[in-house]
């Protein structure tokens, strides 16, 4: 079943009308999206560089990831909520946009990977030396999140 009706409904929702008719709505929500990106990106970077064994080698990964995953998930929630508002402003364009489809696929992959294999790599490595698997997990994680960002930028450019 095509998700098109969902996109149409979002475009015609109260939120959609508000975003489409307001002069500053999109700009303000987009800025919130960017502020949360700064925090999310910082948290991903520190956790994955630690997993690669490049920084904070003497500190426990469990401690680092416990604190930073709260930051990461908190900013992810802000990004998803602001993202839905941005989507409502140009829902049909996004429906047809290959960049938007890529972004959603990569976001789903990044989320799934984060809660499964990445989490296992964090727990397994803890204070030990980075293994081939923990390094691979860090690189996959960095690539997926970067991909989400690049695809997100591409929505407005393609």
């Amino acid at each position: 079943m095509s998700p098109l009706p969902w996109f149409t409904a979002l475009a015609h929702s109260g939120l959609g009308h508000l975003m489409q008719n307001s002069k500053w709505g999109f700009a303000i929500v987009e800025t919130v999206h960017l502020l949360a990106l700064a925090i999310l990106g910082g948290a991903v970077l520190i956790v994955d560089l630690r997993l690669l064994g490049i920084i904070l080698r003497r500190e426990s990964i469990r401690v680092i990831s416990r604190d930073l995953s709260r930051l990461l998930l908190g900013s992810l929630v802000v990004m998803i909520l602001s993202g839905i508002a941005l989507l409502s402003e140009e829902a049909l364009k996004c429906y047809y946009s290959p960049a938007f489809r890529w972004k959603m696929v990569l976001l789903a992959a990044a989320g799934l990977f984060y809660f499964t294999l990445h989490r296992r790599a964090l727990v397994n490595t803890d204070t030990g030396e980075p293994t081939r698997w923990s390094r691979a997990a860090a690189i996959v994680s960095l690539s997926l999140w970067l991909g989400v960002g690049v695809a997100g930028r591409a929505i407005g450019l393609l």
Partner: protein, 163 residues
């Protein structure tokens, strides 16, 4: 025409400025690097600020975090300054009179003064307080100033395109 405006116009009309502005891909690619580079620069600074406020990574001493993020923050700064300067080169004549751009420059100047004050005062005695869960009030004030100013820079930066 004021000297600064004249310089901006020269940059705008120069070969490089025109090439970036009129190229099919250069401007959007540089702009994307500038946007995603926020994570490297502001994301890492924010982590140190949040640590001083006692919100994250409490068991790790301040100096450990500072030394860790230092190279990341500075690489972020190089990426942001280079990409930002290229964007300015392409748009200089428009940026000159852009109120959001002017606000951004003022905030950038202020955000540079903040660590100067911080490092010549309370950070000199960092070894007395680096292991504290929550840093002394002067360090917390510097952290809040940093978070506020960097947020302001992102807001003003995004607003440049709307004026």
């Amino acid at each position: 025409m004021p000297l600064l405006q004249h310089i901006c116009q020269l940059l705008y009309d120069s070969h490089v400025g025109t090439a970036i502005r009129e190229s099919d891909n250069a401007f959007p690619i540089i702009e994307s690097v500038h946007v995603l580079g926020i994570t490297l620069l502001v994301g890492t600074i924010a982590l140190l600020d949040l640590r001083m406020l006692g919100l994250v990574l409490r068991p790790i001493p301040i100096t450990r975090i500072a030394r860790t993020v230092f190279p990341l923050t500075w690489s972020g700064f190089v990426v942001m300054f280079t990409s930002g300067f290229l964007l300015f080169w392409a748009e200089a004549a428009k940026n000159y009179s852009n109120p959001a751009f002017r606000v951004k420059l003022i905030l950038l100047a202020l955000v540079g003064i903040n660590p100067l004050i911080f490092h010549t005062t309370i950070y000199r005695r960092v070894h007395e307080w680096e292991a504290l869960t929550i840093s002394p009030w002067r360090a917390r004030a510097a952290a809040i100033a940093s978070l506020t100013l960097w947020s302001g820079i992102i807001i003003a930066g995004r607003a440049i395109a709307y004026f």
